[in-house]
Amino acid sequence: MKFGLTFVAALLVAVSTSHGHEAIFSWTYTTDLTPKGHGECEQWITTRWEKEHGSYSVIDFREEFEYGVTDNFQLAIYLNHHYVHANDDVPAEDPAHPGNRLRGAYVTGGEDVHAGHNPATVFDSYHFESVSLEGIYRLLSPYKDPLGLALYFEPSVGDQETELEWKILLQKNWLEDRLVWALNVNYELEFEKEDGGGYERDGKFEWFTGLSYRFVRNWSAGLEFWNHHEFADATVHEHSAYFLGPTIHYGGERWWATLGFLHQLPIGQAFSHDNKEFAAHDGYIFGDEHEKYYVRFRMGINF
C-alpha cells in the first residue's frame, strides 16, 4: 500500500515537471497504438467498492510498459497487484440447505479474497497478482479507413489465477476526429485457484463502449458503458451486469491522464440458481465479480 502510494506520488511529481498524450477512455480501448520504435509507461489505478453487505474495497494497480513493434503492432507487459479489504461481504450458505443462503448471515469472501482464507475473519491484504502480456494488431485505421479495427490478446499468469483475454476493438471518429466512438467486444477465460485445490474455470463475455468529445484543446470528456456476462465453467450463463459513467481525459505533448467513474446500474439479471441466491440484490449483481462503484485513473508518459 505504502509502496503503491509512494510509486504514484513519485510518478506524478516526475511528470509534473515535464510538459504537456493515450487512452481517452478509462475502460474502453481505441485502436490508437504506440508508433514503431516508441514506448509508453502507463500507471493504472482502479478503486472499486461496495457489495451487498459489510465492507469491501479494492485498489488495483497496473504498471504497463508498451512498445510499438511496427506502426500496426504493439506489445505490452503489465504488473498487476492490488490491495483488498473485505469483511462480511458475501451471503453465507445455509448448512441445512446447501445451495441456499442463510438469511441475515454474511461471511468474508469474493474473487479477490485468497483461497484458504477463514471466511469468519476480516481479509486485509496487499497482493502481487499476476504478470500480463498484451499484443494488439491494427487492421484498419480510423484516420484513413471508414472504421478503425484492431485485434487484442492478453494472457496473464498469477499464483491465484491464470487468464486469457481476447478483444475486438472498433473505433469511429467524426468532427475532425474530435468526436470518438469506440466499441470493444471481449471474451475471457479465467482459471481460478479453489479452496480445496484445483482450479475453477470461468468464462466472461463483455462489451464496452464509449463516446468522447474533445471540447477544448487537450481536454475531452465522454461516457462509457460496460455490460458483463459471467459463465460458470465457461458454459453456464450466470448473470449480466451493467455499468455506466463519465470519463475525462487530458492529453499533452509528452503525457496524458484519464479519470473515469462507473456506477453499476440496478438492472442486472441473474440467471443461474446460485447467482439468484447469492449474487443478485436489489437489481445489482455483486457476488464474487462485481462492486457497485468503480473509479479508474490512468496516466501515460510517452517517449
Partner: protein, 174 residues
C-alpha cells in the same frame, strides 16, 4: 475507504495543475519571409459568406471551421494564408504560400505540439505539397505520404491545404 479517496484526489490535482507549453516555431513575419523572401505583404482578410463556405466544403470535401481567413496579398503576385487545423491534442497552425496561378509555393508549420510526428515540419514532407492545385487529389497515402504515429496530423494538414486551395478558387482568384 479514506485511503481510496486519497488516490482519487491525487489524480484530480495532477489533471488540473499542469498545462502544455505554447511553442511557436514561426511567427507570421518569419513564415512570410520563409515562403516569400524579400516580399512585402498587404493584409487582405477574407470573410466567407455562407454560399462561399458551402462551395468550399463541396469542392474540397473538408468542413470549414472558421468563416474568417487570415490572408495577405504578396507584392509581385501570390497569396500568403495562415490557417489552423485540429491536431491530436491542440490546433496546428500553419502557413501556405500560393503562387499567382493558385498552386502551392510552400507550406510552413508555425505551431506543432503533438507527441509524435514532428517530421511534418521537415522540408521533405512539406515539399510534397509544392505545385499542388485545387485539381490535385491531395489524399493521404495517395499523393501525400503519411508519417508514422502522426496520421491524424498528416491527414488534417493535407485536408487543410485542400480546403485552402478551394478558398483560393472560390474567394481569392477573381
Amino acid at each position: 475507504m479514506k485511503s481510496e479517496f486519497a488516490f482519487i484526489a491525487l489524480p484530480v490535482s495532477a489533471l488540473i495543475a499542469p498545462s502544455a507549453f505554447a511553442v511557436r516555431y514561426l511567427t507570421v513575419d518569419q513564415a512570410q519571409q520563409a515562403i516569400f523572401p524579400g516580399k512585402s505583404f498587404t493584409a487582405a482578410p477574407v470573410k466567407l459568406t455562407s454560399v462561399q463556405r458551402k462551395a468550399i466544403e463541396q469542392a474540397s470535401g473538408v468542413r470549414v471551421l472558421h468563416d474568417e481567413q487570415q490572408v495577405w496579398r504578396v507584392s509581385g503576385g501570390g497569396w500568403f494564408i495562415v490557417d489552423e487545423v485540429v491536431g491530436k491534442h491542440e490546433f496546428i497552425t500553419y502557413a501556405a504560400g500560393l503562387n499567382l496561378d493558385g498552386s502551392v509555393k510552400q507550406i510552413e508549420i508555425m505551431d506543432y505540439r503533438e507527441t509524435y510526428g514532428g517530421q511534418i515540419r521537415d522540408q521533405k514532407w512539406r515539399a510534397q505539397f509544392v505545385g499542388k492545385t485545387s485539381k490535385s487529389t491531395l489524399k493521404l497515402d495517395s499523393d501525400v505520404k503519411n508519417i508514422s504515429g502522426a496520421t491524424l496530423s498528416c491527414r488534417h494538414i493535407t485536408d487543410g491545404v485542400k480546403r485552402l486551395l478551394a478558398v483560393y478558387e472560390i474567394a481569392l482568384r477573381h
